[in-house]
């Protein structure tokens, strides 16, 4: 009997030991593991949001994805802004370079004219004598094709239009995000209304960031880019000059010099042949020789220029089309790189602000407020 009592006592104590151990283990898990509490308190309270001084309340099931929604808006807004900027830049540069291409025939007319020929010759002589430093072909090309400083103004105007587009995009993104929030939240809730949420999120900073006025200073960066656009525009003629010089060095110098030398020999031959006809003119023979020789020189020059134009005009225009295409590609890459950097910074800023805005919310929802 006594043994039975003892056995019952031992069994009871074993059960108690088991209970204590299990209790300690369960409590340890409850202290260390946050997940059971998350599930328990996930739907217990609504979340308040404050935008521009107005307070709204979101049901817990909708508020759970607030951060995800904001992040998705940020991703979509940045991607769309980037695409829109690329499309506008391409379209604007297409228009600009189409107009520049249309000027190539006028440049070719000048290049193969007597005026152009003698302008080039005289400036080349001056350069040889050290009296002129500029390349006459380059200057004329810049004037006739790129319109001098006009390209800088054109590029600045394009930048201004892209800035306007991106500003509008940022505003639209902010509006779309706020509209979605307001649709979820319904009517503003007076502060005194019962059922106050345990967590309140202030969204003004995030709205500012979405609108481009936040800490990433997206719109300021865009303005700086536009200021830089002036630099790009000012660099346009420089880029064109470089293209011209390199092209002249690569293709034009040899053939044009040979052509010039050939034309010079032919003109000298024509002038000499004309002057020989004046031998019978007696004392007026020198004057006759000068007049007839000069006329023969010019006539020969014109004939040779015409032949040169007939042979090389299309090649000259095609060469310039190629150089303009290179210039366009460089300009497009430079502009898109600038916008890409600004949009990337904006995108990062929006994500940072999303994290900064909603992380406290997570901690509030998952556990007692951060201390």
């Amino acid at each position: 009997m006594n043994t039975q009592v003892q056995r019952r006592g031992i069994a009871g104590n074993a059960a108690r030991v088991l209970g204590v151990v299990l209790g300690l283990a369960l409590l340890t898990v409850l202290v260390i593991d946050q997940r059971p509490w998350d599930r328990l308190f996930a739907t217990d309270s609504a979340v308040g949001i404050v935008i521009q001084g107005q307070r709204f309340q979101l049901p817990a099931e909708q508020s759970a994805d607030l951060e995800g929604r904001a992040a998705r808006h940020a991703d979509r807004g940045a991607a769309e802004a980037s695409d829109a900027a690329a499309r506008l830049v391409a379209s604007e540069l297409d228009d600009l370079f189409e107009r520049l291409s249309a000027r190539l025939p006028a440049y070719a007319d000048w290049y193969f004219s007597l005026r152009g020929e003698y302008t080039r010759l005289s400036l080349l002589i001056l350069r040889w004598g050290g009296l002129a430093t500029a390349d006459p072909v380059v200057d004329k090309a810049v004037e006739l094709i790129l319109g001098g400083e006009e390209l800088a103004g054109e590029v600045s105007a394009i930048e201004g239009r892209v800035e306007g587009l991106l500003t509008a995009r940022a505003r639209e993104l902010r509006t779309a995000w706020l509209q979605e929030l307001l649709l979820m939240a319904g009517e503003p809730k007076p502060a005194s209304e019962p059922g106050e949420p345990s967590a309140v999120v202030l969204l003004d900073d995030l709205a500012e960031e979405f609108g481009g006025h936040g800490s990433s200073e997206f719109l300021t960066r865009l303005s700086a880019s536009s200021a830089g656009a002036a630099s790009v525009g000012a660099a346009g003629p420089l880029v064109a000059r470089l293209a011209l010089r390199s092209s002249a060095a690569a293709a034009g110098s040899g053939s044009l010099a040979l052509k010039g030398a050939g034309r010079g020999a032919a003109k000298a031959g024509g002038a000499g042949a004309g002057a020989l006809g004046c031998a019978a003119a007696g004392p007026a023979a020198w004057a006759c020789a000068l007049a007839v020789g000069g006329a023969a020189w010019v006539a020969t020059d014109w004939a040779l220029l015409s032949a040169d134009e007939w042979r090389n005009r299309d090649a000259l225009i095609a060469d310039w089309e190629e150089r303009l295409a290179l210039l366009r590609a460089e300009l497009e890459a430079t502009l898109l790189d600038q916008y890409g950097q600004a949009i990337d910074a904006w995108h990062r800023g929006m994500h940072l602000e999303v994290e900064r805005t909603f992380s406290p919310l997570d901690s509030v929802r998952a556990a007692p407020p951060e201390r």
């Binding site: 006594n2 009592v5 003892q6 006592g9 031992i10 009871g12 104590n13 108690r16 030991v17 209970g19 204590v20 209790g23 300690l24 409590l27 340890t28 409850l30 202290v31 260390i32 509490w37 328990l40 308190f41 217990d44 309270s45 106050e196 345990s198 509030v364 556990a367 007692p368 407020p369 951060e370 201390r371």
Partner: protein, 274 residues
């Protein structure tokens, strides 16, 4: 016979552990919901905890008074009855229990790392084992009817030191906010500003506690490194960052109240006058 007595002692000890598990359960739940409580709920909670503590403290005070009276006064003296402890003693106990309860509620509401609650959970068997240890050690020294109370008293004192040391050691391995570049005032205001609770009263108390913590961290980061030897810095950090002794003491007071209320009939000398 000795085996039966041992089994009975073990059963009582295990029962005590099971009862004491209710204390960390309550505190763990409180840590999750405290910031959502209203002002009224916070006041009721603090008063309820204080009354529970008071019951245990008062009963133990009465017992201590009886020990004193048994040794100092004759049983037939009217002062024996007058001084045995009544409402005035309970009121004084309540006066001490209210701040202790408030400190415990605030500490639990501000829990942001598991070490405090984990320490409280694991302390349950430690307290009971310490009491059993002292009870056995006092068997041949203490008067039987006061032995349990004396054992509990010694166990509480030793447990306070052990739990404080354990929590202070755990606190050494935690990370704290970087307060470099801030003045002491800025650091305190910054920490206080991060406190959130539905109850304004609880929030104010949490802000006070947070400011106190910020002051400790600031001193630990800005002052200690330049003033004392590296070995002593660890001691200084332990003092600065360890969970407040009062928090540990108030937790132990609740545990002691549970044990006192459970065993009051066995411990109370009743009307027995020798």
């Amino acid at each position: 016979m000795a085996t039966a007595s041992g089994a009975r002692q073990t059963r009582l000890a295990l029962n005590d552990m099971l009862w004491l598990l209710a204390v960390p359960v309550f505190l763990i739940v409180l840590s999750r919901i405290a910031v959502q409580l209203t002002d009224t709920a916070v006041v009721v909670l603090v008063l309820g905890l204080a009354l529970f503590m008071t019951a245990g403290i008062w009963l133990r005070l009465v017992l201590r008074r009886r020990i004193f009276l048994a040794g100092a006064l004759r049983v037939e003296s009217p002062w024996y009855r007058r001084l045995r402890g009544g409402p005035l003693m309970a009121l004084m106990a309540l006066g001490g229990a209210v701040p202790l309860a408030a400190i415990l509620v605030v500490a639990v509401a501000r829990v942001d790392a598991p070490h405090l609650l984990l320490g409280m959970v694991l302390n349950v068997p430690v307290l009971v084992l310490l009491r059993e240890f002292w009870s056995r050690r006092l068997a041949s020294h203490a008067v039987p009817r006061f032995r349990a109370m004396l054992a509990l008293r010694l166990a509480l004192a030793l447990n306070l030191g052990l739990l404080f040391l354990a929590l202070a050691t755990a606190a050494l391995f935690r990370t704290y906010p970087e307060l470099a570049g801030l003045t002491l005032t800025e650091a305190m205001l910054s920490e206080a500003g991060r406190q959130e609770a539905a109850s304004g009263l609880l929030q104010a108390l949490m802000q006070l506690a947070a400011a106190k913590d910020a002051m400790a961290w600031w001193l630990g980061q800005q002052v200690l490194p330049g003033l004392i030897e590296p070995g002593l810095q660890i001691v200084g950090w332990m003092v600065l960052v360890a969970t407040d002794v009062l928090v540990v003491w108030s937790y132990l007071m609740i545990c002691a109240s549970v044990l006192t209320l459970l065993h009051w009939r066995e411990w109370h000398p009743g009307g027995h006058r020798q």
